[in-house]
């Protein structure tokens, strides 16, 4: 990691740690999902959701937290554009790639921390104690989700002038990515058409990989999940850095 990349990573982390209200505020939504859906639907016997619905959605809710936090971290570049800070970075004698990577690693790190916080809460609520190996597997997938979607956020931010399009992106990109990932329903018994769409959603492989790590079983082979999500993350980093290279201030 170049020193410029580290510097930008460090700034991201400092800002994250300082924003206490954001840290705790953004735990609210996943907790809400977990408690309301988990307990609300626990009486339904959903086939494929072995071990009860609450346990079934825990990996998906953690993945969701990482997804939302990382996309948002990437899109924050728009604020840096608007508040002018981006110029300070762009005029420094460092490459655009090192800036982009610093931002990506920074976003992925904060998303990972945010994911860990909700993970601890979810494990307590659901009474889950995964193996050490399972935890490591889950962490690997969280890192990949973080890297991929921070890069996607940066790619989007490089193309956007202001936050006006944010709501649109939220509704037509991020929510579909989450809802179609099988985070909330078992893939095994989904209708065929839905299932096919789901296989095109990269997040599916993140959720399934985490399910394997945390619950010990998944409907997609974890190695395939790793390869697909890893490939997607690499692609997103590539696209993000190409678009960031062309960013105008």
């Amino acid at each position: 990691m170049s020193s410029a990349t580290y510097t930008i990573w460090l700034r991201n982390l400092k800002r994250y740690i300082r924003s206490k209200s954001r840290i705790f505020g953004s735990l609210g939504q996943p907790l809400f999902f977990l408690v309301v859906l988990g307990f609300g639907l626990s009486s339904l016997n959903i086939p494929g959701a072995t071990g009860g619905y609450l346990k079934f959605i825990i990996p998906g809710i953690i993945a969701m937290t990482v997804l939302f936090t990382s996309i948002f971290s990437g899109i924050q570049i728009i604020w840096d554009k608007q508040f002018g800070f981006l110029k300070e970075t762009l005029v420094a004698p460092i490459s655009r790639l090192s800036i982009m990577l610093g931002q990506t690693f920074g976003g992925a790190t904060t998303a990972l921390i945010q994911g860990l916080l909700i993970m601890i809460l979810a494990f307590v609520i659901g009474g889950i104690f995964p193996s050490a190996m399972g935890l490591i597997i889950a962490l690997v997938f969280m890192v990949l989700i973080g890297l991929a979607f921070t890069s996607l956020g940066i790619a989007i931010a490089s193309k956007m002038e202001d936050m006006q399009g944010f709501q649109l992106i939220m509704n037509f990109v991020i929510f579909p990515i989450f809802l179609l990932s099988g985070a909330l329903f078992p893939l095994t018994d989904a209708p065929k058409a839905l299932k096919i769409i789901t296989y095109f959603d990269p997040m599916t492989y993140g959720v399934e990989g985490m399910r394997y790590g945390i619950l010990g079983s998944s409907s997609i082979n974890p190695l395939i999940c790793f390869l697909v999500l890893g490939g997607f993350a690499a692609l997103m980093i590539l696209i993000g850095s190409i678009l960031f290279k062309k960013i105008k201030v």
């Binding site: 410029a4 510097t7 110029k87 762009l90 004698p93």
Partner: protein
């Protein structure tokens, strides 16, 4: 254009050499074929109204914008071919604020020092030194969002100096600041120049600022460089003195003075009329007589030496309008409240 650069080597006393620099945005020519040199150790002022092309020129010199045509050497490095060397050798204070408000003054400095590879062993010492220089050492651990406009500007200047640049660019350094803060900033800028021997290029649309700070001034309008000289020489070019008559009948006075033989030029403004003449003290009685004879009411008469304002008027045919200053200041604040707006 490598050949052109090789044919025009930089002299050792030159900090910047600009050669036929041009920038076009679609069909708008923001900077139109300008050439000049900046000597080492001088304060070089870029004076022109809003939209003249000052910021665009600085952006090209700082390698943030690619020129459409022409090039420049900054500290001997080409802005086209050797961007990183150019960047390392300059400090840049942009027109719009570029601080991270969620970080402290010290952290903003530290971020900069790390990006420019200032070694950890000297970084801390230099940051404290510079914060002291701009009198922010006592607020070093406060978040920038609690700072006033003047404090932010001072912090940006200190930050721009952290990597010991040879040339400092200041784009509208006192835009939107109150008179007292402006005076203070002028002192810092002068001191940096005299004590550290720093070459400074500043842009401004304030006449007094250009006049007070610059060793030489380039007047730029509509992307073109109109003239370049010392403030003294510029003012002497107009020559004579300027009589300003405050009167409600400006247009009547103007038509009367149309065929006056001793007037170099005359112009009517809102509520006043100005005449450029030699030996103004001797001409005033005649002027008053003419006014009396034609029942023109005169509220006051002032004689003054030509100012840069008059120089600007002379060379461009218009004054730098006051409302422009207001417009940019609103924009500067507006940007932060209502999201992004293009600088105009």
């Amino acid at each position: 254009m490598p050949n052109q650069e090789n044919r025009l080597p930089m002299k050792s006393e030159e900090a910047i050499k600009v050669i036929n620099l041009t920038k076009k945005f679609k069909d708008l020519t923001a900077v139109n074929n300008i050439s000049f040199t900046v000597k080492k150790g001088e304060i070089f002022g870029f004076l022109g109204p809003n939209g003249a092309g000052k910021s665009t020129t600085l952006s090209m010199l700082a390698t943030l914008l690619e020129p459409t045509q022409g090039t420049a050497l900054v500290n001997g490095f080409s802005i086209r071919k050797d961007r990183d060397s150019v960047r390392r050798s300059i400090g840049m204070v942009f027109q719009d604020p570029t601080l991270d408000e969620e970080l402290t003054a010290y952290e903003n400095m530290d971020f900069h020092g790390r990006l420019y590879n200032v070694p950890a062993t000297v970084r801390k010492k230099k940051i404290l030194e510079l914060l002291k220089l701009v009198e922010l050492n006592e607020r070093k651990d406060s978040l920038v969002k609690t700072f006033s406009g003047g404090m932010r500007r001072r912090l940006e200047i200190a930050r721009g100096l952290l990597h010991e640049p040879k040339v400092l660019f200041l784009d509208e350094p006192t835009l939107g600041l109150d008179p007292q803060t402006r005076n203070k900033l002028w002192e810092y800028i002068k001191r940096l120049n005299t004590e550290k021997g720093l070459t400074i290029i500043l842009t401004t649309h304030y006449m007094d600022e250009a006049d007070k700070l610059s060793d030489r001034i380039a007047i730029i309008d509509n992307g073109k460089m109109i003239i370049l000289d010392t403030p003294e020489n510029l003012k002497n070019m107009i020559g004579g003195e300027i009589i300003t008559v405050e009167t409600p009948n400006g247009d009547k006075l103007e038509s009367l003075m149309k065929n006056c033989k001793w007037c170099k030029s005359g112009k009517r403004h809102d509520g006043s009329f100005t005449l450029t003449v030699d030996h103004a003290d001797k001409k005033i009685p005649e002027l008053v007589q003419i006014a009396n004879k034609n029942k023109i009411k005169i509220n006051s008469i002032v004689i003054h030496k030509p100012s840069l304002e008059d120089v600007f008027l002379h060379f461009t045919g218009k004054t730098i309008r006051e409302q422009e200053a207001g417009a940019i200041e609103n924009l500067r604040q507006g940007r932060r409240m209502h999201g992004r707006m293009r600088r105009r």
